[in-house]
């Protein structure tokens, strides 16, 4: 089910934010609800998207919702861990496009009340991922989960800069599109 859902979505169509975008988003949300399993944890909302999204209606997402989106793998070093780490999760730009988010910047808030404004251009310029796992293990609030915004730091010298390091929001809880 999830696989076929990912298959019929036209990525470019989403990126252009055509008039069809919101409709597709609503359909996708419905499909996701159906796709959701019986796992209690999977049903717990972990991310809220507010602000300039389709119909101006706040969207609440479970882990399963996020896992249903096309997954991207990033292998990179981080500034707070040792060694090469493998992160997996949906691309931030896919996530935003999927829910018809239209704005120039995103205010990311974490469980620990950390709050940072990230320009949407970051997600267009780089393959920034809303990572759900690190090295194949689910991220949890007890480390840096459930969601960690991860930049492909190793692939771009420009990203090896403290001005990007502070945008790596961990324990991500909500996104406000502006």
């Amino acid at each position: 089910m999830t696989v076929s859902f990912a298959g019929f979505l036209d990525r470019d169509g989403m990126r252009r934010r055509s008039g069809l975008g919101p409709l597709v988003a609503i359909m996708a949300a419905l499909l996701l609800l159906v796709a959701g399993g019986t796992d209690a944890r999977a049903e717990t909302p972990i991310l809220q998207i507010t602000g300039a999204v389709a119909n101006q209606t706040p969207i609440t997402l479970t882990r399963a919702d996020l896992e249903a989106l096309p997954q991207q793998v990033i292998e990179t070093h981080t500034v707070v861990t040792d060694g090469l780490r493998r992160f997996e999760g949906p691309l931030m730009r896919d996530l935003l496009a999927h829910f018809g988010a239209e704005g120039d910047e995103v205010v990311a808030r974490a469980l620990n009340d950390y709050e940072i404004t990230i320009p949407v251009a970051d997600f267009e310029d780089y393959d920034v991922v809303a990572a759900l796992t690190m090295d194949g293990e689910r991220l949890s609030p007890r480390d840096r989960g459930p969601i960690w915004i991860v930049y492909p730091r190793d692939d771009h010298a420009a990203l090896q800069d403290i001005r990007y390091d502070y945008r790596w929001v961990w324990q991500l809880a909500s996104l406000e599109i502006r």
């Binding site: 707070v80 469980l111 007890r142």
Partner: protein
């Protein structure tokens, strides 16, 4: 290696200087590159913030536990705050953060606290109020210890970071001073190189001046040598030529004296012819020698004007006919215009020389022919003799000064005449050439410009002409 010494002496200094400048520049650039690389803030320099965030999470968990005890917070809030604290501790005990804490000897203590706190996990006892309270009590106990540890760690971190910043600034300052020193060194090097260049330039100019002075001296010396050579040759050859006509005169007079009263009118007439001929030869020789001397010392002035060349040639012919009544001297003009731009005195001299030569080098029975004709921009006089012609070995030397043909059999002649004639022709913008056929005779042709041409002519009257002797080259005979 003979050349190594001088090479090192003249180029060693500048090369060393340039090498020094390049070395200093590379050093400065390297120092700057090191600073650039070092000017990157390490994440661990954020340690104070990381520790303070952990401290804050510990306090918030503490507060959640108290609130829960007072009934103003539910179990979920305690569990969430617990998870967030664990997350902070996990961060502290990982990678660069852990290594930093190890350096300030706080990592083991914090790790012990982390273990103890993880052993009191409230999430495992949710729903069981009694067990939850027990776990919370254990947590509170451990949190008190964590507060103290984190406080000390924050203190140590602050001191350490300030020390690190100060050290780094010291290092930057030292590096910047080294760069400034290097740049000053490079500038000084450049100044020295520039100064050397200017000094070299001045030295070169001085050498140039000395060389040109030496050249002038050498030219003067060559002129002196040529003059002395001229007089040596003059003494050797010309003096002999002076003696011949004098001897003729002397012998003629002696014969007349010996006969005494027996001298007849016919005798006197015969001797008189020989004497006059000798005197005429002597006069011409003196004229030629003097003219050559004046030419060599640059004292011959050319005064060209429009002259009728036909008149000049006709008069020369008449003069020679009078002196040599037995000879057949012919003149014919084929020229449409006969006016030339020349100095009459000099042309007279050239013609006299050519006619005298033609008479001398041809048998008495043969005529000497003069012909006037136009050729291009010039008007020419050709003097033809029917003598034996000039031997091939002598041809290249016809116009050489003091050169006398060895095969002609004639011992007369100074070797000055033709050389002087050609110089005089060229002084007027003209030329003198010859053609010769062995056994048949020779033609000497004097070409003169028909009108004034500023490019080839000394136009102003009295122009001083540079001595021909200085110029060693002789143009080959035509």
């Amino acid at each position: 290696m003979k050349g190594a010494g001088p090479f090192l002496r003249s180029y060693g200094g500048p090369a060393l200087l340039i090498g020094l400048c390049v070395g200093l520049l590379i050093f400065a650039l390297w120092r700057l590159a090191v600073i650039e690389r070092d000017m990157r803030i390490e994440a661990t320099e954020n340690m104070l913030w990381v520790i303070s965030q952990t401290q804050m999470e510990a306090l918030r968990l503490d507060k959640a536990i108290s609130d829960h005890a007072r009934g103003t917070a539910d179990e979920d809030r305690v569990v969430l705050r617990y998870a967030l604290l664990l997350s902070r501790l996990d961060l502290l005990l990982q990678g660069p953060q852990q290594r930093y804490l190890a350096r300030i000897e706080a990592s083991e203590t914090i790790a012990a606290h982390d273990t103890a706190i993880r052993n009191a996990d409230p999430e495992t006892v949710t729903g069981d109020a009694a067990a939850f309270a027990v776990t919370n009590a254990r947590l509170e106990e451990n949190l008190a210890g964590l507060h103290a540890t984190l406080n000390r760690a924050a203190n140590d971190t602050m001191v350490r970071e300030w020390e690190a910043i100060a050290e780094r600034l010291d290092a930057y300052r030292a590096a910047v001073w080294q760069v400034i020193g290097s740049v000053i060194g490079v500038l000084a090097g450049w100044l020295m190189i520039g100064w050397r260049l200017i000094a070299n330039e001045r030295q070169l100019r001085r050498a140039e001046e000395e060389r040109s002075r030496a050249l002038t001296l050498e030219q003067a010396l060559r002129r002196e040598r040529a003059v002395s050579a001229y007089y040596r040759d003059f003494a050797a050859i010309v003096s002999h030529q002076f003696r011949t006509p004098l001897a003729i005169i002397d012998s003629a007079v002696q014969r007349l004296v010996r006969r005494g009263d027996a001298v007849t009118a016919a005798d006197v007439a015969r001797r008189e012819g020989a004497i006059r001929d000798a005197i005429h030869r002597l006069t011409r020789l003196v004229d030629t020698a003097l003219l050559a001397g004046r030419l060599d010392s640059g004292q011959v002035s050319v005064k060209p004007r429009h002259c009728d060349l036909a008149v000049i040639v006709r008069e020369s012919c008449a003069q020679f006919r009078a002196l040599n009544p037995e000879r057949d001297i012919r003149f014919a003009s084929a020229a449409a215009t006969t006016t030339a731009w020349c100095d009459r005195d000099l042309v007279d001299h050239i013609l006299a020389n050519l006619i005298a030569n033609a008479l001398k080098y041809s048998p008495e029975s043969a005529p000497v022919e003069l012909r006037l004709f136009n050729t291009g921009a010039k008007i020419a006089v050709a003097v033809t003799d029917y003598g034996p012609g000039i031997a091939p070995a002598d041809r290249p030397h016809v116009f050489d000064r003091f050169y006398r043909g060895e095969t002609g059999g004639h011992s007369e002649g100074s070797g000055l005449g033709l050389s002087l004639a050609r110089d005089l022709a060229q002084l007027q913008g003209g030329d003198l050439g010859f053609e010769t056929w062995t056994g048949r005779g020779s033609v000497f042709t004097l070409g003169l410009p028909r009108m004034f041409d500023p490019d080839t002519l000394p136009g102003e009257e009295g122009t001083q002409v540079e001595s021909r002797l200085v110029n060693d080259e002789k143009e080959p005979a035509r």
